[in-house]
Amino acid sequence: MTGRASLPAPQHLMADAFLTLNHISKSFAGVQALDDVSLVVKPGEAHCLVGENGSGKSTLIKIIAGVVTPDSGDIVINGRSFQRLYPMDAIREGIQVIYQDFSLFPNLTVAENIALNYQLSRNVRVVRWGQVHQIAQTALDKIGVRLPLDVEVESISVADKQLVAICRALVQNARLIIMDEATTALTEKEIRALFRVIRNVQQEGVAVLFVSHKLNEVLEIADKVMIIRNGRVVVDTDVASLDRSKLTYYMTGRQIEEADYDYRPTNEQPLLEVRHLSSRGNFEDISFALRPGEILGITGLLGSGRTELALSLFGVLPVDSGEILIDGQPAHVRDIQSAIHHGIGYVPEDRLTEGLFLDQSISRNIVIRTIDTLTRPGGLLSISQVNRQVRYWVEQLSIKTHDPELPAKSLSGGNQQRVVLAKWLASKPRILILNGPTVGVDVGSKMELHEIIKNLAREGIGILVISDDIPELLHLCNRILLMRRGRVAGVFDRPEITEAELTARLTEATSMARPAG
């Protein structure tokens, strides 16, 4: 931890609420997103907001940020009551929001994204370029990550974008930092560092409102937890009175007990075999085999090369050496078309830029992969087949919408993720690569998605799951491959490794991979 910017410590306000929401309600075109929600956030407090997908969390946050106006209810910040809260007011009162879609400027560099807001908010007319780097570096040091400062944000990974957004919020003199699923792509190491920083700023009276579907994170960081279901507050209480299963129960209204994948080993020919695959600067000498019915997990920290490996298998990233065999035959996967031709499907990591067509309807998003098969003999689209497929997947994945003809951007984050999954599941690939398949999906639905994935495997599909979610990997996979600095650092058969052991191996990778931290 180096040179932190000094933040004002409003000790005298410690006892009073920083933010009070009274009886907030909001509906969108007949959907009641929030129903009579009240919330109090005190200085220095970490308040977590949990609930299923579409329960209204992001809507509540947008109301606090002044981006969405509630239908009724009032907002009190710092003792000032706002009839109509504008985004500028919220920012002036010290509210910093990291949105689910981290609204960064894609054409600016990492350093500019972090530092410019800070300068703007100080009414600096002429940007002091010399300071830009310094401010950005200080913020990055604070959470102990290394990022190239002069790279355009557009070209960096989701995890790095999230880190940039977090840094940007940290350099402001915020009184309340709101993180709406801002940690989905981060791995153990970054989360640890982030939580350390959060605890530090809490000491100085900064409040944190944290939304996440990763319940262990919630239990670790929260002082108070508010659970909402279908827009209503179910529970708002101290974290001490909650545990994982209680949280799940309040969120979903049921107990969730997930069974591990009952894989029965076969000696069938592998669907996919990778031999000594290397791509310079990305990964090196990767070998594994994937048999029908197998679910192979791939995990590793940021920069371990796991996403790059997936991109190479899908024909996006060229390989330098090594072999890919499909059904025992050497396959030349030179582009996405040929990957698809070989029966490979890929659910990408970054749903906003690689997965979704936000302005297009939910149904178009679902059928686009398979549209060539939904035709009548004459070659024209068959409306009934298209509708049948849309209806089937909306039901199968419980996509929460009242009209699939609405644009995909009207869905909540977790539901958008399901749309991307539906698109690929509908195409029935023989080898399916899932990169973060349940990112942003709530616990209850996660289990349902896992069940669907397991069923696909039971039908003989080979599945690769890339994830940081250790419990997810343990439920889903029969084998787990740990990557470290572009290489395979270990392969574990599921029954032989426990959650604790795997986490330990992962963290061990941390200290070796990034000694400087």
Binding site: S58, K62, G66, V67, V68, T69, Y86, P87, Y99, Q100, D101, S103, D180, V316, I336, Q337, I340, Y346, P348, T353, E354, G355, L356, F357, L358, D359, Q360, S361, S363, R364, V367, I368, R369, I371, D372, L374, T375, G379, L380, L381, I383, V386, N387, V390, D403, P404, E405, P407, K409, S410, S412, G413, Q416, K423, S427
Partner: protein, 349 residues
């Protein structure tokens, strides 16, 4: 903000409610029509005037469809008129070469079929070249087609030494005859093109891919859409539409020349933009093109009638088009602005 076409599930109420742009265009169309009919009751709402208006706009309408499909992919085709002139000159040369003055009916028909085929072939090839420059060489559409526009025009000049090529009165029936005695043939051609493209865009997988690609090129690639092939196809279709326009030009003027109707490119863009086609791709509807071209035609004819007596009145066409474009754009941006105001902000997460 115009909603994407209802490509499969007809949801009349939702569509109408969503598609404010189409509604505004319809209102504009009807208002102008009614206003002109009231102001000039003896000349505007008459069969003769309908006939005359109906024969005036088809070329620009068809070119606007070419602009629209390229805009749907987030691109544009500035070369349409130069492609039309190239195709027209080639067709006229074929007619001269294959149909002697004393030709038999059989020779005439065969000659015309070959001439039209050559025009289409030239349009398709020119379009494929545009598509290849954009899809494979990765040029920006605006620069690529600006370049080929000059190239195709130069080629046409070189072939004709800058002179007009006469088509020996072989195609003039297109410009003069009326189907069933009342419907001008160019209008019939326009209607056929409209129907074909409404089907292609809304009822084929190619059409869906076109919209998806325009709305997120990267996601399209990751969804396995063959982006290059779709782009190639799109620009080829645009070239074919230019060839259709070439045949109409030839029918009307009995000749083709390298510098015919250069202003049509900009006018076609105006129609497409007025129609609500999003220049950055992903949304726009054929129905919008039809309404936009009608509104513009009513305005320019009406203005001509109103200002006929004033000297320079005919120049008011451009003025009226510009005014209509601005009015509709302001109306759109106003309603969009309201939708984007905090209360109505669409969600983006």
């Amino acid at each position: 903000m115009s909603a994407p076409d209802a490509s499969y599930k007809p949801l009349p109420k939702a569509r109408l409610a969503l598609d404010g742009n189409l509604l505004r265009l319809l209102i504009a169309c009807v208002t102008i029509f009614v206003a002109m009919s009231l102001l000039k009751p003896d000349v505007f709402p008459t069969p003769e005037n309908f006939l005359s208006m109906g024969s005036q706009f088809p070329e620009i309408g068809i070119l606007a469809i070419a602009i629209m499909i390229t805009m749907l992919t987030g691109g544009i085709d500035l070369s349409v008129v130069s492609v039309a002139n190239l195709s027209g000159v080639l067709a006229a040369l074929v007619i001269r070469a294959l149909i002697p003055p004393n030709a038999t009916d059989g020779q005439v028909i065969l000659g015309l079929i070959i001439a039209v085929a050559v025009a289409f072939l030239a349009g398709a090839v020119a379009g494929l070249i545009n598509g290849a420059l954009i899809a494979y060489v990765n040029l920006t559409p605006i620069l690529a087609t600006l370049g080929t526009m000059t190239l195709y025009t130069g080629l046409t000049v070189a072939m004709t030494r800058g002179n007009a090529v006469f088509a020996e009165n072989r195609l003039t029936f297109i410009g003069t005859a009326n189907l069933l005695g009342i419907i001008p043939i160019p209008l019939v051609i326009f209607a056929v093109v409209v129907v074909i493209f409404a089907v292609v865009l809304n009822r084929t997988s190619f059409g869906l891919k076109l919209y998806m690609l325009g709305s997120n090129m990267n996601a399209a690639r990751f969804s396995g859409i063959n982006v290059r092939r779709v782009l190639l196809m799109t620009y080829m279709l645009s070239g074919l539409l230019a060839a259709v326009v070439a045949i109409i030009f030839l029918g009307r003027n009995n000749s083709a020349k390298w510098d015919f109707a250069p202003s049509y490119v900009l006018q076609a863009i105006v129609v497409a933009v007025l129609a609500g086609v999003n220049p950055s791709g992903g949304s726009g509807r054929i129905a919008g093109i039809v309404l936009a071209i009608l509104a513009l035609q009513f305005v320019s004819t009406g203005m001509n009638m109103l200002l006929f007596t004033i000297s320079g009145g005919q120049f008011f066409k451009e003025f009226a088009w510009g005014a209509l474009l601005l009015i509709i754009m302001v109306a759109n941006s106003y309603s969009e602005g309201r939708r984007l105001s905090p209360r109505h902000k669409p969600k983006t997460d």
